[in-house]
Symmetry: C2
Subunit: 239 residues, 2 copies
Amino acid sequence: MTLPVPPWEQRAPKRRPAKLPLSREAILAAAFRILDAEGLDAVTMRRIADELDTGPASLYAHVANKDELYALLLDQAAGEMRLSEPSAEHWQDRAKEFIRELERVLVSHKDLGRAALARIPTGPNSLAASEALLALLRAGGVPDQDCAWAADILSLYAVAHAYENGLHLLQAGGEEAGIAYVAAIGQYFRQLPTDRFPNIVELAGLLTTGDGDVRFEFGLDLLIRGLASRAADAKRDHG
Amino acid sequence: MTLPVPPWEQRAPKRRPAKLPLSREAILAAAFRILDAEGLDAVTMRRIADELDTGPASLYAHVANKDELYALLLDQAAGEMRLSEPSAEHWQDRAKEFIRELERVLVSHKDLGRAALARIPTGPNSLAASEALLALLRAGGVPDQDCAWAADILSLYAVAHAYENGLHLLQAGGEEAGIAYVAAIGQYFRQLPTDRFPNIVELAGLLTTGDGDVRFEFGLDLLIRGLASRAADAKRDHG
DNA sequence: ACCTGAACACCGTTCAAGT
DNA sequence: ACCTGAACACCGTTCAAGT
């Protein structure tokens, strides 16, 4: 049994319990909520403002612009990476784990990887991650210039893959729809004219097998083999 | 006996000199003009319509939506690639040339590479390019599954690099500004606290040396070495 | 110092109406 | 069939005004 509320105590129903004071943290938290639910495209200044019961202009007291906001999201995500210690003997495994971890964290925030493309990360968490990767590679005896460029290339690979993976996951509306889409592409390849596209037709099956993970591992294997091969060459030439 | 001319076939006297009839070709041409001058962000339905002296709604009679338009741009660009014949002995060089060519064509259209990310190309020119790449790899004796996945990974590498390169070229407002930006990043790395970021500080120079091209070649070397290494392993295991 | 409403200059896409 | 104007539901960012 519920008692009637006297008219003088009736309030407009507040959909949100308490309006927290605006802050960079609150803005980032709201941004992550939207990002994780709907993807990066939904993370607009106006949506965030909505989420915080204010107007879009209010955000600009705490964040320079949307680009800086994305950089902050990225650095916060970088802080979620679990970094491991260098190991001379197992540098290849450690490097692989690092790149997997970067990809994992990015995909866990949908298509956040897109925000990492074409940006040199300079936030504290991103720097700590780069530092760890460089340490991993140097411990393995990879030449310094290779370490520097490899850190760049390996991260680019993780980011690009994370973006593709995250977007598929998002727009297909789940893992299953993504698989169905790839299967449909396979069918499309199979029915192409054999005289013009013999290799595509013949390899249609192989082109569309493997989920994101095994394809990711394949590229990772190529890159690390390449690095090891160069490191071996350098050792031979030098010593 | 003359048939009546339907109203829509009657030609209105053209008051302005050069208004071509709308067509997919005219729309694509206008889109490329904007793209090559200002980059992908400027290629909006409304800008294209402006360029063609019409309203944005008119474009939808020729193009399903903006996403299809981007796919068409991409396939037309793929048609600009110069493809080479397979060669068993020189498959590594041929594969490298292919990836360089893909990157070159994309960068020649500013940041068009972005439109290639997270999209499986299905247009005729893109298919012809994929077909050529698969032929190149198979001629070199790369195992079929490796060919299939490598075609994907190598293209992803070219596309991701082209996007970064194209964007730097665009937003820096030219080659020189881009170099200045990288140099500034180098200075930033150098003044970081040595205790927290020893490797970044020490490698600051190496991290920021090399223009886009030599960094691109480095990654390409890693990938092709990796492929060759796998191919050698497969040969050993199998024969 | 922080927040706000209103405005500016844009978007992609739809739809009924025109030729 | 093709094209159009107007509208809808959005954007990022600025700015003068408020507290």
